[in-house]
């Protein structure tokens, strides 16, 4: 009996290995093989000697970054922008999914869903162009609205106080619907019997959301939250760069835009690698910590 079980386990495992093999192979080939390039952050880039042949500089480039004139400003700005994006931006798609899930009339629900997911497809260049037009205090529709409700003449793009809110809210506007799809899918797996019995128990809709829908989303929420904490220093580049102007620069200069402006994207490979690696390590520490906390507290974790 025992040996039969064991044999079964082996057979079972060989099938599992076979199923994961394609994924393992591509990840190994295309992600792990090029990883020797990481050493560029510790070496001078020397074209004639190849990627791994340059002079060993140790932590020189890391030091250069940490000691650079704007380092503390950059870290602060980068950190605040992504923290704000996580705190406000993360719950938004969850709430949207719960709201959409409550709509009973199918046609209405379909229209809503399709509409909210569309902004995802707008390219950054166009999005920022639209922000410029729509948020203009003189001529934009948001400018008109703000005047109408008595907020007065505020140039949302021109102040260090309003830059982060504008950035975060436009980000939510653009990606909230798209990100809610995953939660909607998770909600579709809720057993309808649960709803039926809750109704018989006389639960209000608010209670069904709280005691049935929300718990069903919990595993997905935890995993996605851990992952988003792993992006604490990745603000993205293009949108911030395009939204920058001299008036919001004190809060909008982030690591990615600074690196771009130094022109090291095209030339100083070693310095760029070092800054990249520095970012990565901090991100990874955040992810690892969150994952550990989550494994202890909720039993849901990445690894």
């Amino acid at each position: 009996m025992r040996s039969v079980m064991k044999l079964g386990a082996v057979k079972r495992d060989y099938q599992l290995w076979l199923m994961i093999l394609p994924a393992l192979a591509t990840i190994f080939i295309f992600n792990y093989i090029p990883m020797y390039g990481v050493q560029l952050a510790f070496r001078d880039y020397d074209f004639s000697k190849g990627l791994t042949g340059g002079e060993w500089k140790g932590l020189f480039y890391f030091q250069q970054f940490i000691e650079s004139y704007l380092f503390s400003d950059l870290m602060r700005n980068t950190f605040f922008i992504s923290l704000a994006t996580i705190i406000i931006g993360f719950p938004a798609p969850i709430i949207l999914a719960l709201v959409l899930n409550q709509i009973r009339r199918k046609s209405f629900k379909n229209v809503m869903q399709t509409t909210v997911y569309l902004p995802h497809f707008i390219s950054v260049i166009v999005l920022v162009g639209m922000l410029n037009v729509l948020l203009s205090p003189e001529t934009g529709i948001v400018g008109h609205l703000m005047k109408a409700i008595g907020l007065g003449h505020i140039n949302l793009l021109a102040s260090s106080n309003t830059f982060i809110p504008t950035y975060v809210i436009s980000d939510i506007w653009q990606h909230c619907g798209w990100n809610s799809i995953i939660y909607l899918a998770a909600l579709s797996s809720v057993d309808p019997q649960l709803y039926d019995s809750s109704k018989i128990d006389g639960a209000s809709r608010w209670q069904t959301i709280r005691y049935i829908d929300f718990p069903a989303l919990m595993p997905t929420i935890v995993i996605l939250f851990i992952l988003s904490m792993g992006g604490i220093l990745s603000t993205g580049f293009e949108k911030i760069f395009l939204m920058q102007n001299a008036l919001n620069l004190p809060v909008s200069e982030v690591i990615a835009t600074y690196v771009y402006k130094m022109g090291i994207v095209s030339n100083q490979f070693s310095y760029a690698s070092a800054i990249g690696l520095f970012n990565t390590i901090i991100n990874f520490i955040f992810l690892y910590t969150m994952n550990t906390i989550s494994r202890r507290v909720s039993d849901t974790s990445l690894f």
Partner: protein, 299 residues
């Protein structure tokens, strides 16, 4: 869900009113800018940027669309993108879903280590140049395969799929099936996949849109015009509009004429690139309906 109609108590009415108000607000906030893109794509750009175009198009012309479709590369681009997207997504799903299933099995001992190895790659990579050299050595540069084979597993989506399998497939289900002599292959294909239509549509959609919007791969790895996907061509057209900003100086007035319609192109590009994908969503939407999964178990 529809079977039992809720009692219309006071709470329910209030709930409906709040729900309706929220939805209406969300709808307006999202729909207006989308509508704005449409009217801006046919209006005089000067009027658009000075805020004269708010509710209706003004100075209407189809110049922008004319410019976009004048570019013959658009059609090759459409053809290429369709190919890369469909085959790419198929390969993505074939590689990702089985792996996600495996990683969701608690009895798979190596899962913790493999998972870590996968997540690790979300953060650490060798950089563009070693990757480019690898692609070159594998003879993938400047071929259609570069869109399909490398990075066919997106770790983020893999994690989502794994979480979904973990939380929706009751462990008892496999145990019961195993007793009947059901192998993992059979269980995966016959039970797990049919129960995960919502997941497959979501992951499929994410992958598909990823391929559809991808211009970076082409930017770095493709030199042949015949192989370029739609997005890189649209990006060229779009950036041409931006170039006017620095067009003066050494260049002189490079865009006086095109300037007037430059923004039309900008907004038109969005519509041209999004329409095909727009029609897709409603087809997938039905899989998000409640109860699809459990219903199919019982059926």
């Amino acid at each position: 869900m529809e079977k039992i109609s809720p009692r219309l108590g006071g709470g329910e009415i209030l709930f409906r009113m709040v729900l309706f108000t929220i939805c209406a607000l969300i709808f307006l906030m999202v729909a207006y800018p989308l509508y704005f893109i449409i009217i801006a794509s046919v209006s005089d750009s000067t009027l658009v940027s000075t805020g004269k175009v708010l509710l209706f198009p003004k100075g209407t012309s189809l110049f922008g669309y004319g410019e976009i479709f004048k570019d013959e590369r658009i059609w090759t681009g459409y053809r290429n993108t369709l190919f890369y997207t469909s085959v790419g997504t198929l390969v993505n799903l074939l590689f990702t879903l089985p792996a996600a299933y495996v990683l969701s099995r608690k009895e798979f001992k190596a899962r913790k280590y493999i998972m870590f190895a996968f997540v690790f790659t979300m953060f650490f990579n060798g950089g563009l140049i070693p990757t480019y050299l690898l692609m070159k050595d594998l003879h993938l540069t400047n071929t259609p395969w570069v869109f399909i084979v490398p990075f066919s597993v997106n770790v983020f989506y893999l994690i989502i799929a794994r979480t979904f399998f973990e939380s929706t497939l009751p462990p008892e289900l496999y145990e019961a099936a195993a007793i009947d002599g059901c192998s993992h292959f059979v269980y995966f294909v016959k039970v797990a996949l049919p129960l995960s239509k919502a997941l497959i549509s979501v992951i499929g959609l994410y992958y598909l849109v990823g391929h559809w919007n991808d211009f970076f791969t082409a930017l770095i790895y493709i030199r042949d015009n015949e192989l370029k996907p739609l997005q890189i061509i649209l990006r060229d057209i779009l950036l041409s509009n931006q170039v006017f900003a620095s067009g003066a100086g050494t260049g002189g007035d490079s865009g006086g004429y095109a300037q007037k319609y430059a923004d039309q192109i900008k907004y038109g590009v969005i519509i041209v690139s999004t329409l095909p994908i727009l029609v897709l969503y409603p087809f997938l939407q039905k899989y998000f309906e409640k109860g699809v999964m459990i219903g199919s178990i019982k059926g």
